[in-house]
Amino acid sequence: MDAESRRRRPRGAGIAIALRSLSRVVSAMFRERVGWLLPLFIGLAVVALLISIISAAGPLAPFIYPLL
């Protein structure tokens, strides 16, 4: 494997990066002693996930777009 292919993005990296981003937020909250924000952040993340799922393929999509 040459240096360039080692540097390339592996397949399916998106989910791993997303999880890494989320875990960074959680650890930053504890580092900054604002761990009490965690429930709020989880709520927001769930809402974001629902919106993205519904807007991707649901009959409610036309009602979701104006929110974004």
Binding site: R9, A13, A28, L37
Partner: protein
């Protein structure tokens, strides 16, 4: 090793490319998209950086983002919750942009450039600022002071920089204790746009007396030992941009100025009538400027006490405040001070890339602001030829001019500068485009509008029909280095090489020379000079001397080549459009001189 630095998602998105520890190129996205302070991901700036040296994204070893978004998100959420439910609107806006975009920057970068996620790095915002100032300074080691609005949580940082050991953060001030945000709030109070109009606050300060200094000290208190304390009861930093202050702030300082309300001050003439309210705004500007200078000076003294070093590097958006930098130079305990050409968030992309270098060379070439794109001479001709096609869609007035332009290409620089100097000395306004465009918001002779600094008619026409600029904001002066000691009494040319080459500081002008450069002076007869040597900018230096040969002073009024609200021009086509759209008389694109036929 090829490292790309990126700043984005707040304002002035930029990209910089560092190869083997050397800064190769840097550009703000706004120069390509033509949207001022464009914060979007700098796709075109990255494309330019790679194309400049013939690289593909696959050739990059690292991509470095200039801050840590997850840390910033904790600050944003904390701020929102501390003001809930008043912050419900901001909550909606912030939640949307964070959850749909900003939080996923790691994935966006990795996917856009097909680069391994581990090769994408994130460095703290203030360390990016520290690196952008320290590494190009050439200092072996120095104290570093970074002061801006806010990064993740940090608003002010004191660090020690060492070529061998890197950058060590020694002390920080955390949000909301931010002198930069306080200055932005006063800027909003005075009716200017925060993160853009701070230069107007600084300019307005020259017309006032700091009679509100004690009031300002109540909201922003310089403490003994060099620290400062902000009273958060007076500020609402998470509010709308024009309301960064609370009702308590208004009770203390009176009603804010509405944006667009007239201010009668002029940098070159005495106003006919100044109302009490207008004078109050000038006095408040003078007061916050004074306290800001005191705070900055205190921080510099603290940095010296903490590091024990005799050199200082300064960065962060507040380092654009040339008046404060000048006071710092005069009164701070450091022997040498360095301020980079673009100390703000745009330049932080450079810092991020430098910070991620495994090894910085022991010696660096002298820093240069000319890091942007250079357009080939051929594109000048193409721009003229395609004017009738492209510009008609973007500029209604272009059709009228397109058949009435004359252009002439010159074979050598000496002939070109003689012709242009003659035009300037006859009162013409010159659009001047040469080589690579500048990094940062200051035009330093590669994307400039030039005029005779003694010509009041030309300066007035420039303000009215080109820049639509408030008369209280002075123009800058570019002068040949050989002229510096005659024009600026007591100027230290070695110091000026660090803080006078890129308009970072201000200087009083010799009384005997005032009339020769009056239109580029402020009301207090100071100027923000670009002291230009042949090594800095050869052809511009020649032009200064060619003008000096005609008018006796090798100095020109220099302002950025743009219209109000637009970024500085980048390509020949941008320059042509601005040329046609305004009252600029002559456009110089490389070696080609274009004129509007009578």
């Amino acid at each position: 090793m090829n490292i790309l630095g990126i700043s984005a998602d707040f304002h002035d998105a930029s990209a910089s490319l560092v190869m083997n520890g050397q800064l190769i190129c840097s550009a703000a996205e706004e120069r390509f998209t033509r949207i001022k302070h464009d914060a979007r991901f700098p796709e075109q700036a990255v494309e330019f950086c790679l194309a400049q040296v013939g690289l593909n994204a696959g050739d990059l070893d690292r991509i470095v983002f200039y801050e840590q978004p997850w840390m910033k998100l904790t600050r944003v959420l904390t701020d929102v919750m501390s003001r809930f439910p008043r912050s419900i609107n901001q909550f909606g806006r912030a939640g949307r942009s964070w959850l749909t975009q900003k939080l996923w920057i790691h994935n966006r970068i990795s996917r856009a450039y097909d680069i391994h996620p581990d090769a994408v790095r994130f460095v703290p915002h203030h360390e990016s600022h520290a690196a952008q100032a320290f590494y190009p300074s050439g200092f072996e080691q120095s104290a570093i002071l970074t002061v801006d609005g806010v990064g993740e949580w940090t608003c002010t940082g004191i660090a020690r920089g060492s070529r061998k050991e890197g950058i060590t953060v020694l002390e920080t001030e955390e949000y909301p204790n931010s002198v930069g945000l306080a200055y932005a709030a006063f800027t909003a109070f005075l009716g200017f746009k925060p993160n853009d109009g701070e230069c107007s606050t600084m300019a307005l300060a020259a017309f006032g007396k700091p009679i509100y200094a004690d009031n300002v000290r109540r909201v922003l208190t310089p403490l003994s030992g060099g620290r400062y304390q902000l009273d958060p009861g007076f500020f609402n930093f998470f509010g709308d941009a024009d309301r960064l202050f609370t009702p308590a702030f208004i009770r203390l300082f009176g009603e804010p100025r509405r944006p667009g309300d007239p201010l009668p001050f002029s940098s070159t003439s005495a106003p006919e009538h100044v109302s009490a309210d207008q004078q109050r705004f000038a006095d408040i500007a003078a007061s916050i400027q004074l306290i800001f200078e005191e705070v900055l000076l205190g921080l510099a003294r603290r940095a010296q006490a903490l590091t024990g070093l005799d050199k200082l590097c300064l960065a962060g958006g507040t380092a654009m405040n040339a008046v404060a930098i000048t006071r710092l130079l005069r009164e701070c305990p450091f022997d040498q001070v360095f301020v980079p050409p673009d100390p703000g968030d745009g330049g932080a992309a450079t810092g991020a890339a430098l910070l991620a270098c495994d090894e910085i060379p022991a010696t660096s070439p002298p820093p240069t602001p000319y890091l942007g794109r250079q357009y080939p001479e051929q594109s000048v001709v193409e721009a003229i030829q395609t004017l009738s096609v492209e510009s008609h869609h973007r500029l209604p007035g272009a059709r009228a001019w397109s058949g009435r332009l004359t252009h002439k290409e010159y074979g050598d620089e000496n002939a070109l500068v003689e012709v242009v100097a003659e035009d300037i000395s006859r009162g013409s306004l010159i659009g001047w485009v040469q080589g690579r465009f500048e990094q940062g918001p200051r035009a330093l002779g590669n994307r400039s509008i030039l005029a005779d600094p003694s010509d009041a008619v030309a300066a007035s026409r420039l303000s009215r029909a080109v820049k639509q600029r408030a008369p209280f904001r002075p123009y800058a002066l570019s002068l040949a280095v050989e002229e510096a000691q005659r024009l600026i009494p007591g100027v230290d040319l070695r110091e000026a090489a660090r803080t006078g080459r890129w308009m970072q500081s201000i200087h009083a002008v010799n009384e005997g020379c005032v009339s020769a450069v009056r239109q580029a002076l402020h009301v207090d007869l100071t100027t923000r000079p670009q002291i230009c040597s042949p090594a800095d900018n050869r052809i511009f230096h020649k032009l200064l001397h060619a003008f000096g040969a005609r008018r006796g002073t090798a100095a020109l009024l220099n302002t950025s080549f743009n219209e109000s609200g637009s970024p500085i021009v980048s390509s020949p086509a941008d320059a042509l459009i601005t040329f046609l759209h305004t009252d600029i008389d002559v456009l110089v694109l490389g070696m080609t001189v274009i004129r509007k036929a009578a």
